[in-house]
Amino acid sequence: MRTEPALGATVARPVLDDLGADVEPGRGRRAVVAMSGGVDSSVTAGVLADAGWEVVGLTMQLTDHGQATPGGRTCCAGQDIHDARRVADRLGVPHYVLDYEGAFRRDVMDRFADSYVRGETPVPCVLCNQTVKFRDLLGAARDLGADVLATGHYVRRRVGPDGAELWRGAEAGKDQSYFLFATTRDQLDRLRFPLGGLDKARTRALAARYGLAVADKAESQDICFVPGGDYARVVERLRPGALEPGDIVDTEGRVLGRHAGIIHYTVGQRRGLAIGGTAEPMYVLRLDPVRHRVVVGPKAALGRTVFTIRAVNWLGAGAAMPAEGVRVRVKIRNTFDPVPATVAPLADDRAAVTLDDPARGISPGQACVFYDDARVLGGGWIERDGHRAA
């Protein structure tokens, strides 16, 4: 039982103005907030309640946190679900837990493992946003009669001539737009990102102002189902026997050493190559999942200008990418300063990306995201074949 009045009714309105959360007045409309138990989504719920939305908090149970019962059924809440529930109690909003373990396993974890086994370097957070969050959770929000689904992502949404647009978060260090490139325009119509204009300090200040116990909660940099970052162990558990050792070879096919499985490597990687006696430092150029080979070469061989991408999502002007191509800046991994490039559409939702200058570490399985300054124009998944042809 809640012992204090709902904050939505008692906190002074100027909160929104002086800290700059990006939220329109709710006027009693219903908003579902994806509450993870972390500070960002907790504050998201707070600002929406504050702005007059009827907030419904939903927490997705994605993994069983190793708390499976002896009978094999799971009936235990992790700490994050507990935290989300307590935040909802404090805000005076209803809160529910949705069991998405099956969908998460199928659409995120299995695809993550398969991608590694194929010699790629996957981005599971994009898969999660694409499937359980913006397909299933958005569907649940619709089933609950909600007008919008709000998340704590640090991105901004604006409405332009073609409808909803996706923009980078205001604080470069917190921007999460790379992980949202696959969001469709229809999804964007019903999504809200109230924190996109804030920095972390302001978010924490809001959490403190709302009296949320999670205000000082540590942030996890890990992939949620890869505690401690040991992704190889997760892949091994999901795909037993898929980790075949093999040769480390140079571009001429000369064997330089052995490795314990290609999943331990990513394109551009230098460390962890147990080879010696080469004249200059060697880098991973590509991974061969068929022959279980790690192909290495000197730094100069890493540079690429042309590659292809698949499953392209277009968020720029018009219904599709212009046939003649478009000048953009691209990010080829999350921690990458956007560089100028030309993107031209190909058949089957594919596209060719031509960088103005060669870039290193273009890894199949990573996302290539297009920007026009701070606006996200879309993106796609970097392909293996196009990469090799480059």
């Binding site: 149970q61 019962t69 009978g71 235990c76 209803p94 529910y96 949705l98 649940a140 089933d143």
Partner: protein, 367 residues
Amino acid sequence: METAAVYLDHNATAPLRPEAAAAMRAALDVAGNPSSVHGHGRRARALVEDAREAVAALAGVPPAWVVFTGSGSEANALALTGPGDGPRLCTAVEHDSVLRWVAPDGHLPVDADGVLDRGALAGALAAAPAPGLLSLMRANNETGVLQPVAEAAAVARAAGWRVHCDAVQAPGRLVPFDMGSLGVDLMTLSAHKLGGPAGVGALIVADGLTLAPLVRGGGQERGRRAGTENLIGIAGFGAAARAVLDAGADEPVRLAALRDRLETGLRACCPGAVVHGADAARLPNTTCVGHPALGADIQLMRLDLAGVSVSAGAACSSGKVASSHVLQAMGLDAAAARRAIRLSVGWSTTDSDVDRLVALWGRTLAD
């Protein structure tokens, strides 16, 4: 328009009966420890024994058979572990607090209505290396389906087995209700299922059966459950038991009329609705209904947001709507099991509560 909340989840917890609340308020002012020799202690002891007599009357047993525990789950644990280490059998649709004490190969199958497979019981009894303990629920918490407890108990006892019955869902819904007619050695009751407080249960132990206690220490409850008695909870339990007895045989008739009104309404607004276990003998207060399209989680949330409380399967500590092991044991595929919700009426339920639920549920079909 603001409307009063509707509570259709009596099988999870029945709202506290006014009689129980009054008895608990009175007990708050009694200072003594029931084990103390002084006047305060004697007054406390008298409250405990009054309650014991009421619970015994409800179960149709002598008061000395009643062992108060901290919950129905604790009573089940005491029943399953107390008699010793022999083999254990139960149905696959038991509550988790029973299932956890029985190895998976001792979970006996049920038919499509959720009723014990008698042949499987006979086979398991014959195959067991030695006589042990059989545990059968009187009525299932999710579907209300009754088990043939008396019949199965007779078979098991003839083979030298002890029999326990988890009867927490039965009082007030099955009248007459008494342990003697079931022919079991042990029976579990729970206060909050019949309008008493949570945090107190009882194991009814037939004369002559020795049980190893789970909680050791003082000699409370004749050495079968140490710990100072939960005076307030026990007083509430006793008052609720008395209220159930006073309501008599008319109450199940009233509940059945509510349940029938509910199911008629559901079927009228949705010909595709399936009432699970409808063909079996079942409690008059429980409806487990499958929605043709929506998952139970969405139904629960929509109803809750409209002020109507129901549940899906057994309550789960995480709040997550877990898939029902009961419905899966009845042969439902996982998808159908995930669309089922449980509606359970009780002493506080009215016609208008039921009508409100039906109207809201009908609306979920329209979108």
